[in-house]
Amino acid sequence: MSATAGIRESRASDRYLGLFSQFNASAPGNDLAWLRKLREDAFVRFSEAGFPSTRDEDWRFTNLAPLVRTDFQRASESQRLPDAARIAALEIPKAACQLVFINGRFAPELSRKENVPAGIRVRSLASQIGHNPEALEPHLGGYLDTGRDPFAALNTAFLEDGAYIHIRKGAVIEAPISLLYISLGDGAPVMSHPRNLIVAEESSQATIVEDYVSLDGAIAFCNAATELVVGDGAVVSHYRLERESAAAFHISTLRVQQGAAANVSSHSILLGGALVRNNVNPVLAGDGAECLINGLFIGAGHQHLDNYMLVEHRRPHCGSRQFYNGILDDQAHGVFHGRIIVRREAQKTDAKQTNRNLLLSDGAQIDTKPQLEIFADDVKCTHGATIGQIEENALFYLRSRGLDEAVARRLLLLAFASECVDRMHEGSARSFVAEIIQNRVFGMAQRSPSESPAGLSAAGRRNLGEAL
């Protein structure tokens, strides 16, 4: 480590210590011994580990220096609220309800909860801590691994607010639950640590959408974490949509705990942000559980989009499928690190992982790395990755029918992105997300392919998994 980096790190340490001490003194529920301990232990873990560097295997392709050296502050308590009209523009049609958070804090004035169906409780986490923390205690902090991930530790240390959703046994909630996290400038660079806890009891069904949006171009750091506990036989679709500004740092973690025969679909769509790290960590802890991890990341400019999957099979007969599609243009850098752990008891595991990437420029870059750790002897595990450009033959075919090059290019990009949409269950959440993806794809720069006789520049070829 260089001397400068060392100094930078200890300054960051001091800064976060100061911020934590200040926060901890008046944090919601700090009179609750268990909650206080949860936060303090988490902060100790964070201090000991520090921010990861590229020497950490899990962070090899992502340089966090710009995040580490920025002096982030918690948003002021008396933050001005945005216009209701701006929030309305972000609504999901036919959502059951919408909770809005500004810089990680619940904004009841902007939220809608009139039509929350029976069988589901939707509350701000801070409010739940205040009124009925007993419901939280068995689960909150019980799953996120603060020892392995310093950002999970940091989020837990600064645990303040977010969404608490509880779906009652057998309840089937058709309309999506919308959670909107808005990042808004506050003068100084702002950090927020939204924390969500979703508990879906046995045989329940629900769809939850987390949407992360910046309303301005201010530098912000959003470190979000969601614990999703899915009971036996329950079916949950979870969407994470990230469309923050070009100055945003976004780290998010979805930690899923699945019971027997539980079925979870996780859809992650990364569209914005300067530096984004998306962690998806399902644990299949009951026999016969299934999970689908479906992702799309689209980067342009100098965006860095890092996707870290950690699927853990703990019990027999579980299935997991990871499908991630990436589109990278300009100097954007994408990462896909797909880890699968199959424990000794997890016989008859069926795990599949596929990462497909389209590079649209010579400067675009993808690092794709499968990592399989298999401790059972009767399993099926496949992985594969492809890296390519827009297919010339397909492009010519479309143009030969009268579609001009820009239109043809956009159509092919949309077709590629639609692979991700096609894995989403039909409904208003899917339609909502599909339209946002379409707009993003159509907004991408139109340009001729960089001439590269070999097909791919050297920079575009890194750590290839076996092609399927």
Partner: protein, 256 residues
């Protein structure tokens, strides 16, 4: 004015010259066939006409309706009325046949100053043309050529031609890989589109297709040059005697 005039066309790929001085005139209402052995440059000629940009035109001119075809991009040529039925149509997952065709038709209509057609008006039109080619409606909602058999792909090409109504249709080895039934269906579709305003060029290795789609003129392409031209009987002669029997000869000469 002839519909298509190719004058002394020379084309190469890399260092390799494939077309070595092609001269050809095609008038509206005519059906021409270009026959030749593998490697003679048939597909190259078809692709150059469709404006594939990977070929280097080193000499010559192509006039389409009096306009400089070589100055046009593929989409411009298409909108002007050039259509090529591909020898190997690609599959394009994620874009349905119906959506693709409607987009293509609207691109051409827009170019000609016509209103775009919405889905409501387009579907019956598509159905009518699909029925002519005995293609199931369901195939239209599948991605372009996705999991289509060879015959279905070729029929899909002719379906596109039927919808887009080009002035010049180039069929690049449309008969390759087709069984008798598929050939009959394709030929019916193509023949239904013959007319005084339209010209066709059938690029083919085998004479078989020409029994179903009888050409007005037959040209033999060998090693990048048209070595002879004649009426439909020339095709039968080739079938009997093979390409090896052809030397660069004048029309009507009988080899020893």
């Amino acid at each position: 004015m002839s519909l298509l005039e190719i004058r002394n066309l020379h084309a190469k790929v890399g260092q390799h010259e494939i077309l070595k001085g092609i001269n050809l005139t095609v008038n509206a209402g005519e059906v021409h066939s270009i026959m030749g052995p593998n490697g003679s440059g048939k597909s190259t000629l078809a692709q150059v006409l469709a404006r594939r940009e990977s070929y280097d035109i080193t000499e010559g001119q192509i006039l389409f309706q009096g306009k400089d075809l070589l100055a046009m991009k593929p989409e411009e040529a298409a909108c002007e009325g050039v259509f090529m039925a591909f020898q190997y149509p690609v599959e394009i997952p994620g874009i349905t046949n119906a959506y693709f065709l409607r987009s293509a038709l609207n691109a051409v209509r827009k170019y000609r100053g016509l209103d775009e057609m919405d889905a409501v008006d387009f579907i019956p039109l598509l159905r009518e043309k699909a029925a002519l080619l005995e293609m199931d409606d369901k195939l239209m909602n599948r991605s372009v050529n996705e999991s289509f058999s060879g015959g279905e792909k070729k029929r899909n090409e002719i379906l596109q031609m039927a919808v887009l109504e080009p002035k010049l249709a180039i069929l690049d080895e449309t008969d390759s890989g087709l069984d008798i039934d598929a050939m009959r269906i394709v030929a019916r579709g193509v023949n239904a589109m013959r007319g005084p305003e339209r010209a066709m060029i059938l690029v083919t290795h085998y004479q078989r297709l020409l029994n179903y789609i009888v050409p007005d003129r037959v040209h033999v392409l060998m090693e990048g040059r048209i070595v002879s031209s004649g009426g439909p009987e020339l095709a039968r002669e080739l079938e009997e005697k093979g390409y090896g029997s052809r030397e660069p000869v004048t029309r009507g000469a009988v080899p020893a």
